[in-house]
């Protein structure tokens, strides 16, 4: 009597690959919104160092935010690491994430500290990436076109049907671009520029980094996206070149937030401190991530955009991350730009 259920349980447990692992002393559920390579590098390094069992899942920042919202009443995730800053700020505004001031806060660059301040210390910057565009050298020279250097070049009719950018409704990258234009030029002029640019756009993609992949594969000549994504394609050997626009450009702050009601809060805080350490941030280059790390003492990977040489605008994350501004700009984009004839 005592034996048979035990035997059954052993058999079933062996059979079922599904079975959740036996609870270790420490456990941490991480939602990761950077590239897969970087996610798994962080996971294994943290596990090796602390002995805490990490369960990590990779999702884009939009999907991650949707999951946190859906799970708000009973969160399963402890910490959300990586991904563009806007959804982190939105999560902070909805109090889906919780206040934590990491030990290394004072060692961080201004934009990373600013991200924490804006959110009431519910999130913090871990890396930054500047917006720019990349072009396919082969395609442009085949068509005898000069390489574009500035944002305004992209609206030049000679590039008709050659530019790609994501739809700001679906991509945080492209929303950053929209907000950048509005901050650089003023809203009406920005939409005027966008309507001219629209004539050159061959497709508004869904994903933010798709345009540069299309440029790498020769499907389009020019793609607007983050410079670190362009550098990645360059390093893979595709004939693309990255451009930091002459007028200046906006940027994103990749962020990290601890989920409110996390079941493994202690471990989540350990991860947060771990992720901000200079030696850990320096490791990003191993995973072919070319963002600028947020810790001042971390080494910026070779090939990453040099922020001291790029004209960065004073991006107002609080205003352009807020739901009201976002809704207004996206609705105007839908009404004034998207359905325009080409």
């Amino acid at each position: 009597m005592k034996n048979s259920p035990y035997l059954l349980s052993v058999t079933l447990a062996t059979l079922a690959v599904l079975s959740a692992p036996v609870m270790a002393k420490g456990k941490l559920n991480v939602l990761c919104s950077t590239d897969t390579d970087w996610c798994s590098l962080m996971e294994t390094t943290f596990e090796k160092e602390t002995g805490i069992k990490v369960s990590l899942i990779r999702k884009s920042s939009g999907e991650s935010y949707a999951q946190l919202r859906a799970e708000a009443k009973n969160p399963k995730i402890d910490i959300w690491w990586g991904g563009t800053g806007d959804p982190h700020l939105q999560a902070a505004a909805e109090e889906l994430t919780q206040v934590y001031k990491p030990k290394a806060l004072s060692e961080l660059r201004d934009w990373a500290q600013n991200q924490a301040k804006v959110s009431g210390y519910r999130t913090v910057g871990i890396y930054a990436g500047a917006l720019g565009f990349g072009y396919n050298e082969k395609l442009l020279s085949a068509k005898g076109l000069a390489a574009p250097k500035c944002w305004k070049d992209l609206a030049d009719p000679k590039y008709k049907g050659e530019v790609q950018v994501a739809n700001p409704n679906s991509s945080g990258t492209s929303y950053t671009a929209l907000a950048t234009f509005v901050q650089m030029m003023g809203e009406d002029q920005a939409f005027d520029f966008l309507s001219k640019l629209h004539k050159n756009i061959n497709q508004y993609t869904k994903s933010g980094s798709a345009p540069i992949k299309a440029a790498a594969n020769g499907e389009t000549a020019i793609g607007i996206t983050f410079i670190h994504d362009i550098v990645k394609q360059v390093k893979k050997g595709y004939p693309v070149k990255a451009v930091a626009p002459c007028e200046g450009t906006g940027y994103e702050v990749g962020s990290m937030s601890i989920v409110k009601g996390a079941r493994h809060l202690k471990e989540a805080k350990m991860w947060a401190d771990f992720a901000l350490r200079p030696d850990i941030q320096t490791m990003a280059a191993q995973a072919k991530a070319f963002q600028v790390p947020s810790n001042k003492s971390a080494t910026t990977p070779e090939g990453a955009p040099d922020f001291s040489k790029i004209k960065l605008i004073d991006y107002d994350f609080a205003k352009y991350g807020s739901a009201a501004t976002r809704k207004h700009l996206l609705q105007r984009w839908d009404a004034d730009i998207k359905s325009l004839p080409r």
């Binding site: 692992p21 036996v22 939009g62 935010y65 700001p168 409704n169 492209s174 050997g237 996206l330 004839p341």
Partner: protein
């Protein structure tokens, strides 16, 4: 045993007295509770101890509905108290179980009114576990047994219980979650009920604009979706028919390979066909560059948008319509055609007047399925859509995109649902109440007539180029895993495979080093568990629908088909909303994935079963019943063996769909249960096409192997004595048996 309810009652007692009442934190399949302080530990305690020792006194009243049926042990079935007591016990038990589950949650009372009525509740309860599930099942069967005893459905316990079970399952896993998300269509961002907002969003220009007809502006997404779905459905139905005719009614030499080809797209993970098409027909694609050089024209981007999506969808869904049609085309009895020819009709006339009308259910089903598949398709518009927006992708981006507008997503979902359901009703009206029975118990043999020459040429000229294209595309996919960067640097490498599937020998056996192993094992396990359940629930439902007459059957059928019409994205989000909190707390487990697959793919089993069963004459059942078998035995011994092709189809299809589905899965995967497709999406998003394609190739091979195994296990049905000369389709071969009557 005297009363059929006794084992079920026993089950209820076991659930109440012995098994852990609540969900275990270690997972459904973990049995450490057996040795880890079972019974006394409140995490593992059964309901009786939770109530007596753990102060969860609200569980104790559940004992009464379990006591009532004990009184019946001494009664006979004809006693009027028999049915009354059972109904009371079942209904009270079930409703009390649900009420207490919803009323008390993680944070005590779940409704404001209850707090003010009873005061703050210190205790809490988590999701229901084994014990609660058994009790629920027991109450359900007691209720249905009682109903049957009171004369329901001619007193047939098996049929009544089956209907009850299907209703309960569909209600819990389809209606409950979907109602959660549909409600949110009427909820404004600040949690207020605002029907006006719904009307405003529904009538948006973004959805209904027709300006593409007379200007350069884009049309509304509703029209885009409809145009795409109708075009896809028409083309796939015609192509599928051409394939089916070539295989059954011509002496075409490579039939077997043709069948194999048509299976391929179905076992293809999403995104791959789109990627392959880009490499062939994109602006820098192989074929585009070749043609552009030849004709000296500028390479275009025609692939991105309506034409590309249509192209990819027709490629993907033709096999589905083929699988529906081949079953029906084969099912058309040769003797009818022979009769027609004996009456001096020529082949063309026979085809038009006899064969084609008999294929109507197949044509309608093929059209309906392609139409729905196209509406719900997510992968192809995602990769090839360009600026061409359709409902399924818009729903996804309304939720995960920069807008984060859940109520807009819900509005679009309602619209999508309305389209699908209208198609469903139109199909039913078209089929009407005519008889399409061709397989009877009577002796029946003969050979199919051939096609007339004109038809044959037409079929050949569509089927052969299409098949060739499919071969090229799959060649590209297989080849893509072995080159450095696809389309750019075509030198040979094994690095993608070693990154994903490396393994080495360690001290304790094989070490699975590759990054893809985890998700691959999870995917295979979950799909393998889901497949038999899908087939079972699907065919049972089909049996009830075709063979049993009961009130509100239409409503019942509608309910079981509903989940097919709901796009995966909506299912995914609604499952999270519904099953993240007690009483049904399932998120983060592997179970939620299994359940999602079972109820999403169940309609396939249902449709397949219905189509196959409506060809089986009812006299077969009647013969069995006359000989004294009950309906359970008839189902098991007569219907099931004749349904083997439908069973194969349901098993294969649900297994394959579980592996390849993406949109619902994205939301339901968790760290411990990651699925292959969501892993692949991550790779595609990062531009790791090489590894993604290598992974897809492996998945394709795995699915092919699985299909062959399922075929060998389940075997063939034998309908009639078949002459050995061709063109008989009933030979045992991998391709002819695979999926052959998959009504998809």
């Amino acid at each position: 045993m005297r009363h059929s309810f006794i084992p079920w009652l026993l089950l209820g007692w076991v659930g109440f007295l012995l098994l852990p009442w609540y969900l275990l934190e270690d997972g459904f399949w973990s049995f450490i509770w057996v040795t880890d302080g079972y019974a006394s530990d409140m995490d593992y305690a059964p309901a009786i101890l939770q109530g007596l020792v753990g102060e969860r006194t609200w569980l104790l009243p559940l004992i009464f509905p379990l006591l009532i049926p004990l009184r019946l042990l001494s009664l006979t079935k004809s006693d009027p108290r028999y049915s009354r007591y059972l109904i009371i016990a079942g209904a009270c038990g079930l409703s009390y179980l649900l009420v207490q589950g919803f009323a008390i949650g993680v944070s005590g009372w779940q409704f404001m009114g209850l707090t003010s009525l009873f005061g703050e509740l210190e205790l809490q309860q988590y999701g229901m576990g084994y014990g609660a599930a058994l009790c629920g099942l027991s109450f359900l069967v007691l209720l249905t047994t009682g109903l049957a005893a009171s004369g329901f459905l001619k007193g047939d316990v098996f049929v009544t219980s089956s209907i009850g079970l299907v209703i309960a399952l569909v209600g819990l896993f389809v209606f409950f979650p979907v109602s959660q998300i549909l409600l949110s269509a009427f909820i404004s961002p600040d949690d207020l009920f605002t029907p006006m907002l719904f009307v405003e969003k529904l009538s948006s220009n973004n959805i209904w604009s027709l300006s593409c007809l007379n200007s350069g502006y884009a049309c509304g997404i509703a029209w885009n979706s409809l145009a795409l779905a109708i075009s896809t459905a028409v083309l796939t139905t015609l192509l599928g028919l051409a394939f089916a005719l070539v295989i059954t009614r011509t002496g075409f030499r490579w039939k077997k390979s043709l069948r194999l080809l048509t299976v391929l797209p179905i076992i293809t993970p999403p995104f791959v066909i789109g990627l392959a098409l880009i490499l062939l027909f994109g602006r820098s694609g192989v074929i585009t560059t070749f043609v552009a050089d030849l004709l000296n024209i500028e390479p275009g981007r025609w692939l991105y948008g309506f034409p590309g999506v249509l192209f990819a969808q027709v490629l993907s869904f033709t096999p589905i319509s083929f699988l529906v049609l081949i079953g029906v085309v084969e099912g058309v009895s040769p003797s009818m055609e022979e009769a027609s020819q004996t009456l001096r009709a020529n082949r063309w006339k026979t085809f038009i007047n006899i064969s084609l009308p008999l294929m109507r259910p197949g044509l309608a089903n093929a059209f309906l399925l392609s139409f729905i598949e196209s509406l719900a398709d997510f992968g192809n518009p995602m990769v090839l859509g360009g600026d061409f927006e359709v409902l399924s992708t818009e729903i996804f981006f309304a939720i995960v995109g920069a807008q984060n507008d859940q109520s807009y997503a819900a509005v679009l979902a309602i619209l999508l649902l309305a389209f699908t359901l209208s198609a469903f009703f139109i199909q039913r009206r078209w089929l009407g109440k005519k008889s399409y029975i061709t397989v009877t118990g009577k002796a029946d043999s003969g050979t199919y007539m051939g096609l007339n020459p004109g038809m044959r040429r037409l079929c050949y000229s569509t089927v052969i180029p299409w098949a060739a294209l499919t071969v090229v595309i799959y060649g590209m996919i297989m080849f893509g895993g072995f080159v450095k960067s696809w389309g750019y640097d075509n030198s040979f490498t094994l690095q993608h495979y070693s990154a994903a599937f490396a393994m080495s020998w360690g001290d304790v056996g094989i070490i699975w080093e590759g990054a893809a192993w985890d998700s691959l094992w999870t995917t295979l396990t979950i799909s393998a568990i889901a497949a038999p359940f899908t087939a079972l629930v699907g065919l049972l439902t089909a049996y009830l629908l075709v063979r049993q007459q009961f009130k509100y059957k239409e409503v019942f059928e509608f309910g079981t088909m509903l989940s097919f019409a709901i796009p995966g994205t909506v299912i995914g989000i609604s499952y999270i909303l519904a099953f993240n909190v007690p009483p049904f707390e399932l998120t983060g487990t592997g179970i939620i994935l299994i359940i999602c697959f079972v109820f999403r793919n169940m309609p396939v089993g249902v449709r397949g079963g219905i189509a196959a069963m409506s060809q089986l004459d009812k006299s077969l059942d009647e013969a069995s019943l006359t000989l004294g078998a009950n309906s359970l035995t008839t189902f098991r011994r007569v219907i099931l063996p004749l349904l083997r092709p439908a069973i194969i189809a349901a098993l294969v299809y649900s297994f394959v769909r579980a592996i390849t589905s993406v949109s619902a899965v994205i939301f339901l995967v968790s760290a411990d249960h990651n699925m292959a497709t969501s892993y692949i999406i991550g790779l595609v998003e990062n531009g790791e096409f090489g590894i993604a394609i290598a992974y897809c190739s492996v998945l394709i091979l795995v699915m092919l192997t699985a299909i062959i195994c399922i075929n060998l296990l389940v075997g063939q049905r034998r309908l009639r004595r078949t002459p050995s000369n061709t063109p008989s389709p009933r030979k045992t071969s991998f391709s002819s048996s695979t999926l052959k009557e998959n009504q998809a």
